[in-house]
């Protein structure tokens, strides 16, 4: 019979918590990307040579970034709940 050692399970919990932190940081990054895309769309709106599709496309992609940020936070929350609920020792 194979059993996990306490040291290994603690390491696993730490790894999952690290992923949680990364997911939260990535959510912030995605929010930043959304702002960046909106800023680019605003910049292009003042440029007569900018293609007409550029602004709506960038705004749509910014919205997708915001949605992705929310979903990453939700995933981080769920992963943290799972990690903390576990009997790792």
């Amino acid at each position: 019979m194979v059993t996990e050692s306490p040291r290994a399970t603690t390491a696993s919990a730490d790894e999952l918590l690290a992923h949680t932190g990364t997911l939260r940081a990535d959510a912030d990054l995605m929010d930043g990307y959304a702002r960046q895309l909106l800023a680019t769309a605003a910049t292009l709106s003042g440029c007569p040579a900018a293609p007409g599709w550029s602004r709506p496309a960038l705004e749509q992609q910014a919205a997708a970034c915001t949605t992705a940020a929310e979903q990453l936070r939700t995933a981080a929350e769920a992963l943290e709940t799972h990690t903390r609920a576990g009997d790792w020792d």
Partner: protein, 718 residues
């Protein structure tokens, strides 16, 4: 400060600001795409983390909830969009397959394609003529779809299309974005990572030269000593000078050859000069890259087939170790030589004293030997010379100690502004001071040439371009435009032949001579053919061709319905053919070849042709001629081999044309010819006399992409 007195980065009054703004936005957006891709990769890693998989089995209530939340974040169409690029196996692979089934594209890919579209818009602001480039046209057709998703799919299909690779290779100004976007559209995560590292034009030169990407090109270089033709020898400089070396390169500009010369310097020491041309747009390449990404990678590797071939040529030439070497190149040739100068082993073998690159993207390169003197000559309008992401007008000057001749030349139009002939003219007339500076630096190489040897570079691992159809014995024929190899070979062409029934008497009156040739008759009608060609790559360069011809019978024994029986014969055995009444071409070289080799009454004109799709269009403002319309359903036809007849003095000239492609026969109802000129010039007058100046053709024979070769004209006895 540039050689012409302009400070880099200063906005010019001709609207470059808009282009720069679009480029900056494109860079910002591709940075975001790169960031999103990294977020997707990390989310995928979290989803497939072994501790999560193991613990979810033990505690499914919270474990499955966490996995579901991660899966949703990774694949939701409204968010990251189903990117599963991090894991080659397991969950990632399943997700990748699911994405393909569901037809989803990742958010990173969509954003990267937006960046590419902005970059295309930027290029077209500065260089609207680049929109006529075959590769650009195909790219625009792919990415200008109404919806992002369709654009991504069309682009993915374009990247898989082997026939499009040649055209894409010519898109130097967009290559960084193309590589970046293809990296994001690639399903193979390992290759994806390697390509992303080289993407966006920022990284290719970051690594050491002996650290090639994982996809090392396994092609074997080869170099064979070849003789120059007598006519070429007349143009090879006998004294070492900057312009002399560049003119040598100009002589070698076709056929993948390089030149190595010994020069006895003013101090009596014999030194060596290596001269390498770039790839001329619209002419066949000797290295025939498998795809544009590989061609791009090769530009940044010392260990590419091209640089290996140059090394083999130098070894064959017998340059002693430690000898002084000057490396002079144009375009990709300059870049290949700079890569050699970056190679420490090469610099230990020879003393590379000078590198001179004209119209080459060498900004981010640094020779291994710090004593090497480097000169880079760049016309700011030459978009092929700013591949490394340093756009024209950028204030960034990576090598303040280089002799950087960065000027705004009078030639704006691409590809003219990239051609070596233009650079030579500018160095002579626009920036003579810069030329004198380079000449002064090259003083040790300014003496009599004591030996000259040309080498043909080859890549043994790949067949030559156009193989086997265009692998033919050739011979050189002198013309007033220089020597021309025959058969003339066309590697990438489109054509539409509009067939009009015309009165036989009207056709006969347009033919020379009283007795022959006579028009082939179909009842009381003869058949006139207006042939429209777009030659994107040929041994005489790219050009558009508009030819009006009439089908004619056997010159010696004309019989009714000759044409019908002849169609069953091999092309070289046919006695009937098409007599060319008039021909309009868009390049001088093509005009000279048509006149002097094929005996056809060619004139120079301007014309734009798009014959690659169902919608065809050819417009020539000079001729007042427009052909446009949509091809209806068609049926497959045998290869369109023809015999063409021309006239030289009183003799008839016979030219054999062999073609290889997918020819289709369409009804002519959707296509219309329109003549909007009152001129009585040859083509317009002939169309009117045939009564087809505003007519729809009976039939259209069309071929969107094919290869052909045209033999030298054989003069028939009178």
């Amino acid at each position: 400060m540039r050689a012409d007195g302009h400070a880099p980065g200063r906005p010019t009054p001709d609207g470059q600001d808009a282009g720069e703004l679009l480029r900056r936005c494109a860079r910002d957006v591709v940075d975001v795409a790169e960031g999103i891709r990294a977020v997707s990769a990390r989310t995928g890693t979290a989803l497939s983390a072994p501790p999560l998989t193991a613990s979810a089995r033990r505690r499914p209530r919270t474990g499955l909830a966490a996995q579901w939340a991660l899966l949703r974040a990774l694949t939701n169409k409204q968010g990251l969009g189903g990117s599963a690029i991090t894991e080659p196996k397991g969950v990632g692979q399943v997700l990748g397959a699911a994405r393909a089934v569901l037809g989803r594209e990742s958010l990173a890919a969509l954003v990267a394609v937006t960046s590419l579209r902005l970059r295309i818009a930027a290029v077209l602001v500065d260089h609207p003529e680049f929109g006529r480039d075959p590769g650009m046209r195909r790219l625009m057709a792919a990415v200008t779809a109404d919806r992002d998703l369709e654009a991504v799919r069309a682009l993915r299909a374009l990247f898989r299309d082997r026939g499009a690779q040649r055209a894409l290779c010519g898109l130097g100004p967009l290559m960084a974005e193309l590589v970046a976007v293809r990296a994001l559209l690639d399903e193979d995560p390992k290759r994806d990572a390697a390509r992303w590292a080289l993407a966006a034009g920022r990284e290719p030169s970051a690594g050491p030269p002996h650290d090639p990407p994982k996809e090392t090109d396994q092609g074997q270089g080869a170099a064979e000593a070849v003789d120059l033709t007598d006519q070429e020898r007349q143009f090879i400089a006998t004294e070492g000078s900057f312009l002399g070396f560049l003119r040598n390169i100009e002589v070698l500009s076709s056929g993948g050859r390089i030149l190595v010369q010994n020069v006895r310097g003013p101090d009596g020491v014999v030194r060596y000069v290596v001269q390498v041309p770039g790839m001329a747009p619209g002419r066949p390449r000797s290295d025939a890259p498998q795809d544009f990404v590989r061609a791009w990678h090769n530009l940044f590797m010392t260990d590419s087939p091209h640089t290996r071939s140059v090394l083999l040529a130098l070894a064959d030439y017998g340059i002693p170790r430690g000898a002084d070497l000057a490396l002079i190149g144009h375009g990709e040739g300059g870049l290949a030589l700079m890569n050699l100068a970056r190679d420490e082993e090469f610099c230990r073998t020879y003393r590379v004293t000078h590198v001179v690159a004209v119209g080459s993207p060498v900004d981010n390169k640094k020779p291994a030997d710090p004593r090497t003197w480097v000169a880079a000559v760049t016309n700011q309008h030459d978009i092929m010379a700013v591949l490394d992401g340093r756009d024209a007008g950028s204030a960034f000057d990576p090598h303040p100690h280089w002799h950087a001749v960065d000027y705004t030349g009078p030639t704006r139009v691409f590809p003219l502004c990239h051609m070596l002939r233009e650079y030579i003219e500018h160095l002579r007339t626009v920036i003579p001071v810069a030329r004198e500076g380079v000449d002064a630096a090259l003083t040790p190489y300014r003496g009599p040439i004591v030996r000259t040897q040309a080498y043909q570079l080859k890549d043994r691992a790949r067949p030559p371009e156009g193989y086997p159809f265009l692998t033919l014995p050739t011979s050189s024929i002198p013309t007033t435009a220089g020597p021309v190899d025959v058969p003339v070979r066309y590697y990438d062409s489109s054509a539409a032949h509009l067939c009009f029934p015309v009165p036989a008497d009207a056709a006969r009156r347009l033919l020379p001579g009283v007795t022959r040739p006579t028009p082939s008759r179909l009842g009381r009608r003869a058949l006139a053919v207006l042939s429209l060609y777009e030659h994107r790559c040929s041994t005489i360069g790219p050009y558009t061709e508009i030819a009006l011809s009439v089908l004619v019978d056997d010159l010696w024994r004309p019989r009714p319905y000759d044409i019908a029986t002849d169609l069953l014969r091999r092309a070289d055995l046919r006695r009937t053919g098409r007599y060319v009444l008039s021909l309009a071409v868009t390049s001088d070289e093509a005009r000279v070849v048509a006149r002097e080799i094929w005996g056809q009454p060619a004139m120079r004109t301007t014309a734009e042709a798009d014959l690659m799709g169902r919608e065809i269009g050819v417009r020539s403002g000079d001729l007042g001629l427009t052909v446009e319309g949509r091809l209806g359903p068609g049926v497959r036809c045998p290869e369109a081999d023809w015999t063409l007849y021309g006239r030289r003095a009183d003799s008839t000239v016979r030219t054999l044309v062999r073609a290889h492609g997918r020819l289709r026969l369409h009804p002519g109802t959707g296509v219309r010819l329109r003549l909007d000129t009152a001129a009585a010039e040859p083509l317009a007058g002939q169309l009117r006399r045939l009564g087809i100046d505003r007519a729809r053709p009976l039939l259209v024979l069309a071929c969107p992409q094919f290869m052909l070769h045209r033999s030298a004209g054989a003069v028939l006895p009178r």
